[in-house]
């Protein structure tokens, strides 16, 4: 073994004349969580489909679990588990039957299969619903069943394609807990997400995928250092005050619709006071002031060419 669970060099894939992945390099050490981060349509799902043998790549030297994807997909399949973006459960049968189906396909003995199924259903809080058809499950339950099914074969490498998309906050946190527990057992997790917060929470390393290329790669901390400091955001209710403030703070970027200004700032007391002094001099008072320290959102916008656009809504300001 090379110590790398996933090694991809020059991964390319296009559909027709649309290039989805344009020379992507990825290296994921064993036992770590790697997050592929990108907006919708960036090619995240295609990357997962290729690395999990579902779709063949056009080019690239690809190894998963030490096996070559092109020449030995079967060995790759034996090493991996995949939970796709759309739940891969059989809705017509019960949760327990889904688990036993997986046990059969992994060639476990009957007794062993029942034991593993019962354990996992218990662990993922599905024991109570085990005898109900999977189609009646909530989104969070389906996702948990999906992951439980993936774990039946005790895969060493797990692909999770947007595991929390569409889940409520509570289910999302449950899912994060599950993912953290997975790596404590030495499993490698390859996670795609469009939520920066999620990558920040979970991943050892993050790669930002944009337009089929890796725009940046590193730990969350390293990525945050890529963008200069944070900013102060001032919001006004009175348009006249907003205009006055805008002319007083010329370096601020304007959001005319929200009547808000953003001033680059590290958030220190001195920098804040300087801003406030200038507002006082101009005789205007902001209705709301928030200090925004750099987070992955800034990195993301900076890397994907959206740097000039201020944080779109309050939820980005924590």
């Amino acid at each position: 073994m090379t110590g790398l669970a996933i090694a991809a060099n020059g991964l390319r894939k296009s559909y027709g004349d649309k290039t989805v992945l344009d020379g992507v390099d990825l290296n994921v050490p064993e036992g770590t969580i790697f997050s592929l981060l990108g907006p919708n349509g960036a090619g995240k799902t295609t990357a997962v489909k290729i690395l999990s043998t579902l779709v063949t790549a056009d080019a690239g030297d690809l190894r998963v679990g030490g096996h070559d994807l092109a020449t030995d997909p079967r060995a790759v399949r034996a090493a991996i588990g995949v939970t796709g973006q759309f739940s891969a459960v059989d809705g017509l049968i019960t949760g327990e039957e889904n688990m036993l189906l997986m046990a059969d396909l992994h060639h476990l003995s009957r007794a062993q299969g029942r034991r593993v199924a019962a354990e996992l259903l218990e662990r993922f809080d599905l024991a109570e619903a085990a005898r109900k058809p999977a189609s009646t499950y909530s989104g969070g339950m389906k996702r948990r069943l999906d992951i439980a099914m993936t774990l039946v074969g005790e895969p060493r490498i797990i692909f999770l394609d947007e595991p929390t998309t569409g889940l409520d906050p509570r289910s999302r946190h449950t899912m994060w807990q599950i993912i953290r527990e997975l790596v404590t057992g030495g499993v490698t997790v390859f996670l795609t997400t469009q939520y920066l917060e999620e990558a920040d929470e979970l991943a050892d390393r993050i790669a930002v995928l944009h337009d089929g290329r890796i725009a940046a790669e590193g730990s969350a901390g390293e990525l945050k250092r890529l963008v200069p400091g944070g900013h102060v955001r001032l919001r006004f209710t009175d348009p006249a005050a907003y205009r006055a403030a805008a002319s007083a703070l010329r370096e601020a970027s304007r959001d005319d619709d929200a009547l808000a200004l953003q001033i680059p700032s590290g958030g220190s007391q001195r920098e804040l006071r300087a801003v406030l002094d200038r507002l006082d001099t101009a005789g205007v008072e902001a209705d709301e002031l928030t200090v925004h320290t750099p987070d992955l959102d800034d990195v993301f916008f900076a890397l994907t060419g959206g740097a000039a656009v201020p944080a779109p809504s309050k939820e980005a300001v924590r």
Binding site: R74, R77, V82, D90, L105
Partner: protein, 263 residues
């Protein structure tokens, strides 16, 4: 595990899954039986007098027509059941579960084989049910020997296998369940253009070759011959050739389509 052992084990797992679906949701299968049963009752009890006059000249009555129509409807039942196969294959492909199967170290063909074996078993069960309705309204085989019964059964299974592989291919190339149902329509329309309801002799001259050589007519005539002692002639080998040809064609079509990257 050897490749063959793996194929058998995984295919039987997939078969169990499909049979579980059929057992849990019998309505889909039963709905597909409605068409042949309705046609049987309609043609016998509503059009029966006219139809019987059409098949046998003088002295033919309703019971003669029942004998005439049942073999065709048994084969139509198979066509109808395999529409269900096309629909369920297509539904399966749009679900994430098949994507999961594709990323597992299982026998590649087991997904399709499980569907095919399940569908053939369903066809046989359906034929038995429709056959029972036929017997209930007065269908009787005339002095068919044990060997002829066996041959009739073999023909039905072979015919079901052939249509099922074709239906699997139709299901695989259809983007959704509705399209699969439409694409598989010929499987239930073809019997209407065969000798199932009226003899080919009674059709317009230009149409007779179509009716005579399409897959259903030879199979129907062979089944009639086996159960009722009518002349089989060249229909026997034509039926077997159609079945083998369609089965092989459907098999290669389906496996090649399944082997392609999913969309």
């Amino acid at each position: 595990m050897s490749t063959l052992a793996l194929a058998v084990r995984d295919s039987s797992t997939m078969l169990r899954r499909n049979l579980l679906h059929a057992r849990r949701y019998p309505s889909l299968t039963l709905n597909l039986l409605l068409t042949p049963v309705m046609l049987l009752l309609l043609f016998v009890y509503v059009f029966g007098d006219v139809m019987s006059a059409g098949i046998g000249g003088e002295g033919a009555d309703r019971s003669d027509y029942i004998a005439y129509i049942v073999p065709g409807l048994l084969l139509m039942t198979i066509g109808s059941t395999t529409i269900g196969t096309a629909v369920s294959i297509s539904m399966d492909m749009t679900e994430g579960i098949v994507a999961r199967f594709r990323t597992m170290a299982i026998h590649r063909g087991s997904v399709l084989i499980g569907h095919v074996v399940g569908s053939v078993l369903q066809s046989v069960a359906s034929v038995v049910l429709v056959g029972a309705v036929g017997v209930a309204i007065g269908f009787r085989s005339t002095d068919a020997t044990a060997l002829e019964w066996l041959a009739a059964f073999g023909l039905l299974v072979l015919f079901a296998l052939a249509l099922t592989w074709i239906a699997v291919g139709m299901g695989l190339v259809s983007p959704n369940a509705e399209a699969a149902g439409n694409n598989a329509m010929p499987l239930i329309l073809l019997p209407l253009l065969s000798s199932a309801f009226v003899p080919v002799d009674g059709m317009p001259g230009w149409f007779q070759p179509v009716a005579e050589y399409q897959p259903f007519t030879p199979a129907i005539e062979t089944l009639r011959g086996l159960l009722l002692g009518t002349e089989i002639g060249h229909h026997g080998w034509l039926a077997v050739a159609w079945c083998l040809g369609l089965a092989v064609l459907g098999y290669f079509w389906s496996t090649a389509t399944f082997a392609k990257d999913p969309k």
